[in-house]
Structure formats: structure tokens, C-alpha cells
């Protein structure tokens, strides 16, 4: 078993799909934090077989939309005074702002400077650009 110091006040991002923690680390811009961050890769998980975990010492605002979009199985654990204060499960967010980009060359997002790339979750469960209704395909991005 691998032991990492437990944190007193901060967040644990648990049940990350094994092997994807570094991508989340960069997307959440955790490299810019001054506080301690531990990335634990490929540990055993009863639920998923293997998982990654990120522990952050200190209170920060996390973009839960990015996390929910990347991996809705993730659990956020809030630690206060060494104890679990709250557990949050993620779901697919209804809208995504500047997380993914529209690739439709006919869309206004391809021409207008400073425009946010906003996607909303469709009834079919895919993300569509609010401007042109084009479905986002991760493989084409």
C-alpha cells in the first residue's frame, strides 16, 4: 500500500479514471497553485479496479463543469479539520463554457473575436454548440 499524508483542509478528487489525472491536473491549472498537490496514479479501487486520485491542500474553487464533462464518475471530497465535510458526485453539466471548441467553419465562433464557445447538453446526451447546433465530436477536435 502507498501512503500519502492526509490533508487537514482541502479537496480530494477521487475515482479519476486511471491514467488521466495528469490531463485533469493541467486542465484545472493546478500547476499554478502555491499549495501542496499530490497526484496518485493507478491505485486499487473497489469500484473501478484502478483509479487516480488528486489531493489538494488548501481551499480552491474548482471548475466542476470541466470535471463533470471529462469524467462524470469523479467524486469530490471536501476535507475540513482533517475530516470529510462533504462528498460531491458529478453529473454531465448542462452547459460548457470555453471547455471545448466549435469546429464548424460556418459558425459565428469561427469569425467573432472574444466569443465564448458555449455548448449545451442535448436531449440525446451530446453537446451542441448553442450558436450553430453542431454536435461536438472529440475525435475531430
Amino acid at each position: 500500500m502507498l501512503y500519502i499524508d492526509s490533508i487537514q483542509n482541502g479537496l480530494v478528487i477521487d475515482h479519476i479514471q486511471a491514467g488521466t489525472s495528469m490531463r485533469i491536473y493541467h486542465l484545472l491549472k493546478l500547476d499554478r497553485l502555491d499549495c501542496g498537490v499530490a497526484i496518485i496514479k493507478n491505485v486499487r479501487s473497489e469500484k473501478y479496479g484502478r483509479k487516480d486520485i488528486i489531493k489538494i491542500e488548501g481551499e480552491i474553487d474548482l471548475n466542476l463543469d470541466i470535471l463533470g464533462y471529462l469524467d462524470p464518475n469523479i467524486t469530490i471530497v471536501v476535507i475540513k479539520d482533517g475530516n470529510v465535510a462533504e462528498k460531491k458526485s458529478l453529473t454531465l453539466p448542462k452547459t460548457l463554457t470555453n471547455v471545448i471548441r466549435c469546429n464548424n467553419p460556418r459558425c459565428i465562433t469561427s469569425a467573432e473575436e472574444g466569443i465564448d464557445h458555449i455548448f449545451s447538453l442535448s436531449e440525446k446526451g451530446c453537446y451542441r454548440c448553442i450558436y450553430c447546433d453542431e454536435e461536438f465530436h472529440p475525435s475531430r477536435s
Binding site: R106, I108, A111, G114, E123, K124
Partner: protein
């Protein structure tokens, strides 16, 4: 409250019906509306050429006693200097009371509505939506058939880039017992966001066919569209597909006597001139109705 018309579903079904009722009344009694929008100004921001839509918007505002300003080509606007939609609409909001925007980029009117202090009407955005054409279509269908429900509607031609088709489908399937026959070549099928999110998700009966002849006998409405050169990136694809479906008097033979043939216009060759003399041709009265629904819409959005 500030209202815009960007997507046909921005209007509830009840609002659509009341707009059509108002448009009918305007058509019957235009004299009652001559001063309705006096001292009001409509800005027509047309970044792409248009004849019917722009002129019918201008005629609508003039018929209501208002005035019109704007441009009819992006080369006449500061878009050529690189001005953003957001900046343009913030400025226009100070000059006019309402605006109609046509833009080659999909979603441009939505972008404008996020920054506007006046009602924004989508007058066509790329191959995406054209909600005021839909009001025109619905008015004509109701006039011809006496109802907006229990109809088998064939839409034919370029269903991929045909913005009038997308808006019409989204709007008319809110009425009961609508059956759709989607007639197009494989390459120009209706986009997924219409078939998946609208038709399948709402259990609307529809079939996709490749031949106009197979569908003709069962239709109450035949909505023809043009294969538009400006929507294609590739000239070869345009040339190959432009003559896919052409309506002739021969093809109309098996059709019902009560069929109404609609077309948003302009046509190129997809409806032969001989069809114009058939009583089932409804496209010129459809173009006329465009003025009445736009008058009704201006009254509604300005709260007059």
C-alpha cells in the same frame, strides 16, 4: 421584457397562432395598421444579399408607418473593417427600435441578441434557421388547408443547408398529427440535430426517401427548396446536386387536388414555369404573406 426571435421555438405555439391571427387581420384590414409603428425605426442589417426577406421587412415597417435604415451587403458595413457583431449591435441599439439581421455565419443573430438593447430578429443565419420565413410558411399553410394539424408534409431538395426547412420542421411538429416525408439526396439529408433531437426524441412520424415521385400522392403540402450555391464549399458537389429534384406538371399529376406547393423563393429551376399556372402553386401568395407576418411580428416585439 425585451424579446428576440432567433429560433422558431422562441415563440410558443400560442404566440405563433396569435401572430398568424394578427397577420390575417392585417391582410384583411391593412388600413387599421397604417400608423401602428409611427416614429419607430427598423434597422435591416443584411451581411448577405437578400431580395424578399429584406424588402418584405422594409415594406412591413413602412406599411406600419415606421421608417427603415440599414445596409444590404456586408461590404457597405463596418464589418469590412473587422467590427464584431457585439460592437455593431451595441451601436445600432442606439439608432433603431428593432432590427432584422441576416448573416452568413450561423448563430450571428444569437450573438447579437446577447448584446442588444432592442429586439433582434433572425432574418436567416447561414444554413441554420430562418424563423420569419417559417411564420410566412405557417400562414400560407393555414390559409390553404384551413389548419396546421393533421397534415402530411413533404420537404424536398437541400434539407442539409436549407435553413427554412430546419425552422419549419422545428415549428410545425408542435402541432398534432404532423407526418413528414423528407425527400433529398443522401448528401443533403436533414442534419442530425433535427432528426435526433426533434423528430426521434418527440416521436414524430417521418420517412426519408430519395424520390419525389414515390411521395407525391400522399402529400398535403409539398415544400420545395433550392440547392444553394453559397452553402457549398466545393463547386463540384454543387454542380452534381443542383438538379436533383425538379417539380414539373407531370410529377404533380398523382398529387391531391388540395395539395399546396410552397417554396421560400428564389427558385432557379427546381419548379418549372408551367407549374405556376397550377392552382396548387402557392409560392407567390406565400411571398406576399411574408409582409403581413413581419408586420405582425414587429407589432408583437415592440409591444404596440
Amino acid at each position: 421584457m425585451l424579446r428576440h426571435l432567433i429560433d422558431p421555438l422562441d415563440l410558443s405555439k400560442e404566440e405563433v397562432i396569435s401572430l398568424l391571427d394578427l397577420a390575417d387581420d392585417i391582410k384583411q384590414h391593412p388600413e387599421n395598421y397604417r400608423e401602428k409603428a409611427r416614429y419607430k425605426k427598423l434597422a435591416t442589417l443584411f451581411y448577405e444579399p437578400s431580395t424578399r426577406t429584406r424588402l418584405s421587412f422594409e415594406a412591413a415597417m413602412l406599411n406600419l408607418g415606421g421608417s427603415v435604415l440599414g445596409f444590404s451587403d456586408s461590404s457597405q458595413s463596418s464589418a469590412t473593417k473587422g467590427e464584431s457583431i457585439a460592437d455593431t449591435i451595441r451601436v445600432i441599439s442606439a439608432y433603431a427600435d428593432i432590427c432584422a439581421m441576416r448573416h452568413p455565419k450561423e448563430g450571428a443573430p444569437l450573438r447579437a441578441s446577447h448584446y442588444s438593447r432592442i429586439p433582434v430578429i433572425n432574418a436567416g443565419d447561414g444554413g441554420h434557421q430562418h424563423p420569419t420565413q417559417t411564420l410566412t410558411d405557417l400562414m400560407t399553410i393555414r390559409e390553404r388547408e384551413g389548419r396546421l394539424s393533421d397534415l402530411t408534409i413533404g420537404v424536398c431538395g437541400d434539407l442539409k443547408f436549407g435553413r427554412t426547412v430546419h425552422s419549419l420542421i422545428k415549428s410545425i411538429i408542435r402541432f398534432p398529427n404532423i407526418r413528414l416525408v423528407l425527400i433529398s439526396p443522401e448528401e443533403l439529408r436533414v442534419p442530425d440535430y433535427i432528426t435526433e433531437d426533434e423528430l426521434k426524441a418527440k416521436n414524430i412520424p417521418f420517412t426519408e426517401v430519395r424520390s419525389l415521385d414515390d411521395a407525391m400522392a400522399k402529400l398535403d403540402i409539398l415544400y420545395m427548396t433550392r440547392v444553394q450555391r453559397e452553402r457549398f464549399f466545393n463547386e463540384e458537389d454543387y454542380v452534381r446536386l443542383k438538379n436533383s429534384y425538379i417539380l414539373t406538371t407531370d410529377k404533380l399529376r398523382p398529387a391531391k387536388e388540395t395539395l399546396a406547393v410552397l417554396h421560400p423563393l428564389p427558385r432557379v429551376n427546381e419548379i418549372t414555369l408551367a407549374v405556376d399556372n397550377d392552382p396548387r402553386a402557392a409560392y407567390f401568395e406565400q411571398a406576399e404573406n411574408g409582409v403581413y407576418v413581419r408586420m405582425a411580428l414587429i407589432i408583437f416585439l415592440l409591444g404596440l
